[in-house]
């Protein structure tokens, strides 16, 4: 009897959506749109950065005739995807380009680069060394880091190829996410974010409508109680949330060629839980608004913290320590963490149970508050 009653509300939400093409478009198109915009524009990888190279290296004669140039080897090892190389004749010309903003960096090899380097290798006790000069525009941290990394990588690769021995080497092996691209990391995050944002927005606006049009009062004057209504909405939006997750996953696999190693059903469960939390939050927030326009005013407070703190674009570890506790107050944080762990690392429920418990606890709190917010209207 109770089940049937709240299901009546669920059915009505779906009928309403079926007739309402705009909301339907919001549910279907918005998440895909968000995914494309961020997936294409914000790939997280820095590419085609203009860098000026000044190579004054004279090279050095080697045994068996001919000359060898270490600088050329290093230049050829620079990642051509990241750096777009141009050449200049002297340091001043290169520096001028960086200062003008024409280039992000200048890489300068001194004239005695190869010979000094070889001298150091021949006589390690000499204590001298030679330098590659890197004039760097550090105003854009991401770009600066990418350039530094490209130069260091090229240097290491050259040393390796030359068969020179370095005292210490780092061996890296991927425990998880071998060949993982930014999109592999991003899709689980955007899945959670899109479901959270759209579910909250949609319930918020729909519920303000229920309040202002009088349909909420009419429902409450029937045998339905506050819990039936909240549960009816929760059921509807968890189903919608799973639908959105499936859609995003399909686009992720088909268009962005993401790799999924774990059980997607577990990821869907997490997303469904997030949808329930979000719709309860939407109902709760609707009690603060008298008109739909007022509902829109609370949106930045719903969307921005999740956008910035939930670990969608960058890890929570990249957020200042004092701000991190706030991350654990926004619901998508747990869903992002769990679905990423499941999809990228193949974790099972045994390893993401903390996230699930956190989401269940939030669902319990927000559902209770949502029911309470409907009940207090009677006072």
């Amino acid at each position: 009897m109770r089940r049937a009653r709240f299901f009546t509300v669920t059915k009505r939400v779906f009928k309403d959506l079926k007739n309402d093409k705009r909301s339907l478009a919001l549910i279907v198109i918005a998440p895909i749109f968000v995914m494309f915009v961020f997936g294409l524009a914000f790939s997280g990888e820095v590419k085609n950065v203009k860098v000026v190279v000044v190579n004054q290296d004279q090279g050095a004669a080697v045994a068996g005739g001919g000359t060898m140039s270490l600088s050329e080897k290093i230049i050829s090892n620079l990642d051509a995807e990241v750096l777009k190389l141009e050449y200049a004749d002297d340091r001043d010309a290169a520096l001028a380009q960086v200062e003008n903003g024409d280039a992000y960096a200048a890489i300068i090899f001194p004239s005695d680069f190869t010979s000094s380097a070889l001298a150091v290798i021949d006589d390690r006790s000499s204590g001298s060394s030679t330098d590659i000069e890197l004039l760097l525009d550090k105003s854009n941290i991401n770009v600066a880091n990418a350039i530094t990394k490209a130069v260091n990588d090229a240097l290491l690769a050259t040393i390796d190829q030359a068969g020179m021995q370095t005292p210490v080497k780092v061996e890296t092996e991927a425990v998880f996410g071998q060949n993982a691209k930014f999109m592999d990391f991003f899709v689980p995050g955007i899945m959670a974010f899109a479901v959270y944002m759209i579910t909250t927005l949609l319930t918020l606006v729909t519920f303000v409508g229920e309040r202002t049009s009088g349909t909420l009062q009419r429902m409450l004057a029937t045998t339905l109680n506050e819990r039936d209504i909240v549960m009816g909405y929760a059921a509807a939006f968890s189903i919608i949330g799973i639908g959105q997750a499936i859609l995003l996953l399909l686009v992720g696999i088909l268009v962005f060629d993401i790799t999924v190693v774990g059980n997607v059903l577990l990821a869907f469960l997490v997303i469904a839980l997030l949808a329930i939390v979000s719709q309860a939050l939407g109902i709760l927030l609707s009690s603060t608004a008298r008109r739909e326009a007022q509902a829109i005013q609370v949106l930045p407070f719903v969307v921005l913290p999740a956008f910035l703190l939930a670990g969608i674009f960058w890890p929570i570890e990249a957020i200042p320590t004092w701000l991190r506790p706030l991350s654990y107050l926004v619901p998508p944080t747990y869903a992002v963490d769990a679905s990423r762990a499941v999809m990228l690392k193949g974790y099972g429920i045994g390893k993401i149970w903390i996230d699930i418990v956190a989401l269940l606890a939030m669902a319990a709190v927000f559902l209770t508050l949502a029911v309470w917010s409907l009940r207090t209207r009677k006072d």
Partner: protein
């Protein structure tokens, strides 16, 4: 207490509803007989809507007690016996007439067939048979009002609580609304209706005048006119509210 023994459809003793310090309904005593049309009359802010909402279980009582069909309120189970038509349109504009009626029918556990049959009768009753599959949002205000009435009737409740059902309704439609109400009454059902149109209150079997949360007079329309020596209910109301004020000052 004397539950149900009285045979009243509604029985309230000392009903009080306060919002903070403001008393919207002040020790209201009310008896509505089964099968009558009872009109709650009074200006805006008199406490009519609050009274209806308390009877529907939409508001908590601050004091006193009330029974609907012999059962103490608030009690969710009584909801099935009440058809409530709120002041607002209170329909889903994005759903069709049929979908709205079916939704409110399903809440009360009606089967598809029951809904189908009642819907046909009700649409005929409100002269909207051809509009079953039209979006409610596309209907005129008067049509929405009629659909709203039909939604309150779909589960065949013995008691109808209608809050200002004729506000914003053109005079012609208002006449047909009273025809509907008399039809419903003739089926043995009870109607409590609030209005601030004194002229149409003459259609009610009995009238209660509300003023500042108090029931200041009650009776058949004719009786009230005789008591005050007036020839219309508007003047009758003025006469009662004036003496109420005088009483309060003394």
């Amino acid at each position: 207490m004397n539950e149900g023994a009285s045979g009243y459809m509604i029985e309230a003793h000392g009903l009080v509803k306060r919002y903070g310090k403001f008393t919207a309904v002040d020790h209201l005593d009310l008896q509505v007989n089964k099968g009558e049309i009872y009109g709650l009359l009074g200006p805006n802010g008199a406490g009519k809507t609050t009274t209806i909402k308390v009877l529907c279980g939409l508001l908590k009582l601050s004091g006193g007690e009330a029974y609907v069909n012999g059962k103490p309120i608030p009690d969710r189970r009584i909801a099935a016996q009440i058809g409530y038509m709120p002041q607002e349109t209170a329909l889903y504009l994005g759903l069709t007439v049929h979908q709205n009626m079916a939704f409110f029918g399903e809440i009360f556990g009606l089967t598809k067939r029951e809904i189908g049959e009642r819907e046909r009768d009700l649409l005929e009753f409100i002269n909207l048979s051809g509009w079953r599959d039209e979006m409610v949002g596309n209907l005129s205000g008067g049509m929405k009002h009629r659909v709203s009435l039909a939604c309150a009737l779909i589960h065949m409740p013995p008691l109808l609580l209608l809050d200002e059902p004729t506000v914003g309704v053109d005079p012609e439609l208002r006449v047909s609304f009273w025809d509907y109400f008399n039809d419903i009454k003739s089926q043995g059902r009870t109607i409590v209706i609030t209005t601030h149109y004194m002229d149409e209150a003459g259609h009610c079997d009995r009238i209660g005048f509300m003023h500042n949360g108090l029931l200041i007079a009650e009776g058949e329309p004719g009786e009230l006119l005789v008591m005050t020596g007036t020839d219309n209910l508007e003047d009758a109301f003025m006469s009662f509210s004036a003496s109420d004020r005088k009483g309060a000052e003394q």
